[in-house]
């Protein structure tokens, strides 16, 4: 019973964090609340029994990917977003009014759904990795190709002297 209460609180906080990242004008504030969201998400993974995913979420997402976002936001002095003034029209109100009951109906359907019990003992960390290296051999090897292509792409694009042969001269305003 206490587990469901903690999970609901964590989920509500998580939704709050993600909503602030999409609403807040300042870029660093958006990145900060997204990092907070990732910490809450790793707690939720922990309570759901996905021990490895909880730690990986912090190391990879909050600790590596968001660092590049914070670097880019800090150093390219991204302007504080002057958010467009949203004129609430009739269509907006109607869409919100219609979407909330749909959400409620879907969640009731999910809550009443009975999962078919396949096997009861819960997932151990070791047999995740064993299953991955035996059953999912091909996707695992293709991931290294994906990482290789991302590596080469990132270097050629971001590298100053070799990659950017198409650098435009200062004056030309292709961007218009």
């Amino acid at each position: 019973m206490i587990m469901t209460v903690t999970l609901t609180i964590l989920c509500l906080l998580l939704i709050l964090c993600f909503v602030t990242t999409s609403i807040i004008p300042t870029p660093v504030g958006a990145c900060a609340s997204l990092i907070g969201g990732f910490l809450l998400l790793s707690f939720i993974y922990g309570f759901l029994g996905a021990h490895f995913a909880a730690v990986i979420q912090i190391i990879v997402y909050a600790g590596a990917i968001m660092v590049v976002f914070v670097f880019v936001v800090m150093l390219l002095n991204v302007p504080t977003q002057d958010l467009p003034k949203v004129k609430i029209s009739l269509a907006d109100i109607l869409s919100i009014l219609l979407s909330i009951p749909v959400l409620i109906l879907v969640s009731i359907k999910i809550l009443n759904w009975q999962a078919p019990m396949i096997d009861s003992q819960n997932v151990e960390m070791k047999d995740i990795a064993r299953k991955m290296f035996i059953d999912y051999l091909w996707p695992f090897e293709l991931i290294s190709f994906l990482l290789l292509t991302a590596l080469v792409a990132a270097i050629t694009v971001a590298h100053k002297n070799k990659g950017s042969r198409y650098m435009l001269k200062e004056g030309s305003d292709h961007g218009r």
Binding site: M3, T4, L7, L14, I15, F18, T21, S22, P27, L34, G37, F38, L41, I44, Y45, L48, G49, A50, F52, A53, I56, Q57, V60, Y61, I65, V68, F69, V72, V73, L76, V78, Q81, L83, P84, L103, V106, S107, I110, L111, I118, D119, S120, Q121, V123, I128, K131, Y136, I143, L146, L147, A150, A153, I155, V157, A158, G163, S164, M167, G175, R176
Partner: protein, 99 residues
């Protein structure tokens, strides 16, 4: 019962990320929206692992994280090149391909 709450939370998070993608003009915020959508999918996979007691869900989480990392790496590299050469990051000004 508690895993289903996370499925509903994943559902809401996906649409919050999708809203961020549409609502924002700057590319960085749109990429944050994409990260939110990927994490919402991760959350539903974790909930699925707990409901079905099956390890496939967690393996999918690792693959999604690898893909999200590559996407973020290449996307931000392009963003850096863009902001250094074009000096703009708003999607409204990037009209070169529109012809």
């Amino acid at each position: 019962m508690d895993a289903k709450i996370c499925i509903i939370c994943g559902l809401i998070l996906f649409f919050v990320g999708f809203f961020a993608l549409l609502y924002r003009k700057n590319i960085i915020f749109m990429m944050l929206g994409i990260e939110m959508m990927l994490n919402a999918a991760n959350l539903v996979f974790a909930a699925g692992t707990q409901i079905y007691h099956n390890a496939d869900g967690q393996i999918m989480i690792f693959f999604i994280m690898a893909i999200a990392a590559c996407e973020a790496a290449v996307g931000l590299a392009m963003l850096i090149w863009l902001s250094r050469n074009r000096k703009i990051m708003d999607t409204d000004h990037l009209t070169l391909l529109r012809g």
